[in-house]
């Protein structure tokens, strides 16, 4: 595997792959299968998440709606985390994955500060099965699966087939077709990061923050408990 540290943007570059995800929010039912599949895939400890589904309620009875917003690393084509990492622990693979080399990570949290999407976290040291901790971790687009010809675990299990994954440089791919034929948005385009997770039909108010302020008392109490326990981490505000 070529490392491609600081790999130049590959979107639209002939002969290169540009892995991307489309999240069709019309199809997300908030079932949380992706969240649990991801936890199992990487033995993700309690208190941190590589992917989450944000839940938001709007409206007044009886005109109400619940909105779901799956979030994960955007695997930016121009990732600020990579630019800001002092030890070259974070790098961009030439096919588009933004990855983390644990052995180079000094947990300085610069990448966490640089990421406009709150997509990174420090791994707690106490894990069940995989004994890597105290370093920064993040979603990898399941590059270990993708390189073996499989889809990311969250896509594999997605009940609503809301998550679609593929090579955006391949005009025949499903992600290319969806991006070409639907109105999609990416998060915080103004940051110049060229994020590669495309949302179909998002509610605009949901796209701003991955870790918004909790609204209900139940969520606020959970947030308090969370920050008492995990000072350095971010809470996605739960599902209530």
């Amino acid at each position: 595997m070529a490392l491609g540290l600081q790999a130049p943007p590959s979107l639209g570059v002939p002969g290169k792959k540009r892995w991307a995800m489309v999240i069709d929010l019309r199809r997300c039912i908030g079932c949380m299968a992706c969240v649990c599949a991801d936890k199992a895939e990487y033995d993700v400890p309690l208190g941190v998440w590589r992917t989450i589904v944000k839940v938001k309620n709007t409206g007044k009875f009886p005109n109400t709606k619940r909105h779901f917003m799956p979030r994960l690393c955007n695997h930016c084509d121009n990732p600020p985390c990579v630019r800001n990492c002092p030890t070259q622990a974070t790098y961009k693979h030439e096919d588009g994955f933004v990855l983390q080399r644990y052995e180079r990570c000094i947990a300085c949290r610069t990448c966490i500060a640089a990421c406009p999407y709150n997509a990174r976290h420090v791994l707690p040291k106490n894990r069940d099965r995989v004994k890597i901790g105290g370093v920064v971790d993040k979603c990898t687009f399941c590059n270990h699966r993708v390189e073996k010809g499989l889809l990311p675990a969250c896509v594999q299990t997605c009940l609503g087939r809301s998550r679609i994954f593929g090579d955006l440089n391949d005009p025949k791919s499903e992600v290319s077709r969806l991006v070409a034929t639907h109105s999609t948005v990416v998060l915080k385009p103004g940051k110049g990061t060229q994020p590669q997770v495309y949302y179909i039909k998002p509610d605009r108010s949901l796209t701003e923050q991955a870790y918004s302020e909790p609204v209900s008392h139940a969520a606020k109490e959970d947030a308090k408990a969370f920050y008492r326990h995990n000072r350095g981490s971010k809470f996605f505000s739960g599902v209530l």
């Binding site: 019309r26 309690l46 409206g59 619940r66 699966r145 299990t157």
Partner: protein, 888 residues
């Protein structure tokens, strides 16, 4: 189970011949479109990159039985995935399914048989061996058998009770109990869906509808939260999203609470609890009186005439339904017209409408909408369930000689799925006796209405002299046992399976994906051992029913001789693939099941219109209704000169008119009965409960991934109702019913009817391991797996475990279907009083006993029955006498 196999046998025969051809495809080629990466079926370690060993299984996180594949690394299950060969699960698992492997490694799992040393429920145990434990149980069982034989009273054998909450053993529990001569197998279906089944089954045959979601254009959802829970959540959700987004179907949902399903719907209405039936009847009124019904289907395939239905529905106007439900008449009228004129269309319903007294009528009313619009068994419509059966190993024990009062209460002759809720009251009143109470996959001290009554009875050694639990987890129920013989988790055991979870009938297996941990023993082996010890030399004549060399031997006896499967390897095929038959491959673009050319393998529709062959018709007679009989059995129905197999009813037509209901004074046609809760006082509310998408009823609170997502259950209350009571979001409240009160938190929301308060049943454990109770810093019990998970020990960040509502929920039995009226409890909601603490529960056993007496008044033997059925024209003084009829 027994009802279910009768229809499956027919499908099974049908498939027996076709399946060989289907399974014989070699799915080599792939289409070069869509997601070019593979959906699944292979797995690699994220850390080492090594390929993992895969073993197929069938899920039992909840009751849907999805097909799964376990990935094993160094002898440990590290992740689960949907089985790509399963035609209904299509390679996907829900949140619970994905987290299921954590059950195996639960640090608080019971790893050895335990014998009680202190008082019941005190938590003092002595570890013993499986051999000692099965010998002790066998001795207790043998004592009962010897007493029954000595006194020549087979009814004594019914003092041996097996109560199950989730029986997916494929007949093992029944075989065990019948071998012992007892009919006292007590189910759980009446706290689940019983009245739904009783509303449907007399009309069209066993089990519940299988909607063709993906191909439909219009869906009416009555009180089901199909995108989160309900029967077949995973497969139904997949296809519902395909229908609504892919096929642009309209979804209209009726639910008192904005569930994820109702939020997903194009239109959500929140009717008063228990009035769905009024809405459905009003829609039927509109459809019939505006002549929007399917004239051919009603004439040919039902046992009623259009005129009869019009007359019956005359008073059920949309205005009447608005008065009852609060849903505007103009919307009811509009939706009825849309439903009748949009083809294909289907309804779906689950517990919302039926978990009420008279819930059976509500289900029958909803079912009728599909019948009068001719959507039954249509592509995109409301289809029959499609399951498959498998043979039981011979010889099979006969049922016990005496019917059991506990299993089949005589006051409920139509409740074919039994009435388990009454059991503790029967014991308290001395109406039934128990010598040995066995508990399998069951936790009534947590999951039943008035759960405190169960606790009291299970702790009473006079009422239950010997109590054994087979649970691998220390539940609220199991902690009261005298003896625990722990089963293994569902990933370490054998079971045959078939569920009508989609339009493709199939069968599947559960098998140990890893060797049972730490020398634990699966339930099936325990049953073999116990029977062999009860009847060591075979003189009792029951050992022969358990003459299996091994558990696998037992499984082979189910599967090895099935035509079609046999040719493909029988049980060995299932061990390798997990499911049979294999219809095709999941198209990565559309998720449809396709053949190797990418063309959809379409499921069969119009099952009732399969025609009888000439040889089947030989010697058959046709009566004036068209029913075709042979050897005294109805085998089909003749319509317009054609001989169809028809539906699973005596007439082989859809029986909207249920003669059997009338016999007991119930209305043979669907009606609406106003419930006492509808006449509640203005300041009172109706208590509703619900499941969430990441938890089962009781078994998942100790699963860390799920608990992290959802661990507390504050009471949903509408902002207006909260304001009227001076309650702010998050404040402590008292929810008070006739039984007592709980103190919980208010979750002020817009997503609920103002006169309903809703509390999820997922949380509020007082047992079930340390994580469920948030005691993770406490030392592991000596009998447990212990050691365990440093993640749980160190990283649990939440500090609230919730408050369970069941102690204040009143017992209420649907007199027809036997269902618990979960949503009939009227409560007052107020700010907590000084001195109240979060989690306080106070519930009176005496008040619950009064509910028992009160609910019997609604039974056909009770004094309220006739009063509530004035319209039924029968000889009221000559109802059939209540008699013991049932066999467990």
């Amino acid at each position: 189970m027994s009802n279910f196999t009768s229809i499956s046998r027919r499908d099974f025969i049908k498939l027996g011949s076709a399946a060989g051809a289907v399974g014989a495809f070699g799915f080599g080629g792939r289409r070069l479109v869509a997601m070019e990466q593979k959906l699944g079926g292979q797995d690699f370690s994220a850390t080492s990159g090594g390929e993992r060993q895969s073993v197929p299984y069938t899920c039992l996180a909840c009751n849907i039985e999805d097909g799964g594949v376990a990935y094993v690394e160094n002898g440990r299950v590290v992740k689960l995935e949907g089985n790509m060969d399963h035609p209904n699960t299509r390679g996907k698992l829900c949140a619970k399914g994905n987290s299921g492997f954590l059950h195996i490694y639960d640090p608080d799992r019971i790893m050895t048989p335990l014998l009680r040393t202190g008082k019941r429920g005190e938590g003092k145990w002595k570890r013993i061996s499986y051999d000692e434990a099965t010998s002790l149980l066998a001795k207790k069982l043998r004592e009962v058998i010897d007493r029954a034989n000595a006194e020549d009273k087979p009814e004594i054998l019914n003092e041996i009770v097996l109560k199950w909450g989730r029986n997916r053993t494929g007949g093992a529990c029944e075989r065990f109990m019948h071998a012992l001569g007892s009919n006292s197998t007590i189910h759980h279906t009446d706290i689940c869906e019983a009245s739904k089944k009783v509303g449907l089954e007399p009309s069209w045959g066993p089990d519940i509808e299988s909607c063709d979601w993906a191909n439909t254009k219009y869906i009416l959802n009555f009180g089901s939260n199909v995108l989160e829970t309900a029967y077949f959540m995973n497969p139904n959700s997949q296809r519902l999203v395909d229908g609504v987004v892919g096929n642009k179907a309209k979804l209209v949902s009726f639910d008192v609470r904005m569930s994820n399903t109702s939020s997903f719907a194009d239109e959500w209405f929140a009717p008063f609890p228990g009035t769905d039936g009024a809405i459905a009847l009003a829609m039927a009124h509109v459809i019939m009186h505006e002549d929007l019904y399917d004239k051919d289907f009603v004439r040919d395939w039902t046992n009623v005439t259009a005129e009869q239905l019009k007359e019956h529905l005359k008073t059920y106007t949309p205005e009447f339904a608005e008065e009852e439900s609060g849903v505007p008449a103009k919307d009811i009228r509009r939706i009825a017209r849309e439903f009748a004129t949009t083809k294909p269309a289907t309804t779906f319903s689950y517990r919302g409408p039926v978990k009420h007294v008279y819930g059976t009528y509500q289900e029958a009313a909803i079912h009728m909408l599909n019948v009068i619009t001719g959507n039954v068994e249509k592509k995109g419509g409301y289809c029959l369930p499609r399951g498959m059966g498998w043979p039981q190993p011979e010889p099979e024990p006969p049922k016990g000689k005496a019917p059991s009062l506990l299993a089949s209460p005589p006051e409920y002759p139509l409740a074919s799925h039994h009435v388990s809720t009454l059991a503790p009251y029967r014991l308290k009143k001395g109406e039934a006796r128990v010598s040995v109470w066995m508990s399998f996959y069951d936790n009534p001290v947590y999951t039943y209405p008035s759960s405190h009554v169960w606790k009291e009875v299970l702790q009473d050694e006079n009422l239950i002299p010997f109590f054994v639990s087979f649970s691998p987890f220390m539940s609220e129920t199991t902690e009261n046992a005298d003896l625990i013989i722990p089963d293994v988790t569902y990933l370490e055991r054998h079971d045959p399976e078939s569920m009508p979870s989609g339009l493709y009938p199939c069968m599947s297996i559960r098998q140990p994906v890893v060797k049972p941990l730490g020398g634990t023993q699966e339930f099936r082996q325990t049953l073999i051992d116990v029977i062999h010890k009860v009847d060591p030399d075979g003189t009792l004549g029951i050992k022969k029913y358990f003459a299996f060399d091994s558990v696998e031997d037992w499984m082979r006896a189910h599967f090895d001789e099935i035509p079609g499967l046999k040719e493909q390897g029988g049980y060995d095929f299932l061990k390798k693939k997990g499911v049979w038959p294999i219809y095709g491959k999941v198209d990565p673009d559309t998720a449809k099941i396709v053949d190797r050319n990418g063309n959809e393998v379409e499921p069969d529709y119009a099952l009732h219109e399969k025609q009888l062959s000439q040889s089947q018709m030989e010697g058959a007679e046709i009566d004036e209704q068209g029913t075709i009989r042979k050897d005294g059995k109805a085998i089909g129905v003749q319509i317009n000169g054609k001989n169809y197999v028809g539906f699973g009813t005596p007439s082989k037509k859809i029986e909207l008119y249920k003669e059997n209901f009338k016999k007991y004074g119930f209305n043979p046609l669907p009606v609406y009965k106003r419930l006492p809760s509808r006449d509640k006082k203005d300041n009172e509310m109706v208590l509703s409960t619900y499941k969430v998408n990441v938890h089962t009823q009781s078994r998942t609170a100790s699963i860390k991934y799920l608990a992290e997502l959802y661990h507390k259950n504050p009471a949903w209350i509408n902002s207006k109702s909260a304001a009227a009571r001076g309650i702010k979001d998050g404040e402590l409240i008292r929810v008070t019913s006739k039984l007592g009160y709980i103190v919980t938190q208010a979750h002020v929301t817009e997503g609920i009817r103002p006169d309903v308060i809703a509390i999820s049943t997922a949380c509020g454990h007082s047992s079930y391991g340390r994580l469920s109770q948030l005691k993770v810093k406490e030392q592991a019990p000596v009998w447990s797996q212990g050691g365990g998970d440093v993640d749980i020990a160190n990283n649990v960040w939440w500090d609230d475990k919730g408050v369970h509502p069941n102690p204040i929920i009143q017992l209420a039995v649907d007199p027809i279907g036997g269902s618990q009226g979960w949503f009939d409890t009227v409560v007052t909601v107020s700010k907590a009083e000084p001195g109240d603490s979060y989690g306080d529960v106070k519930a009176s056993v005496e008040a619950s006993v009064k509910d028992y007496e009160e609910t019997l008044r609604y039974a056909y033997t009770g004094d309220l029955h006739r009063k509530n059925h004035k319209e039924v024209d029968i000889e009221w003084d000559h109802l059939p006498p209540a008699s013991l009829h049932g066999h467990g």
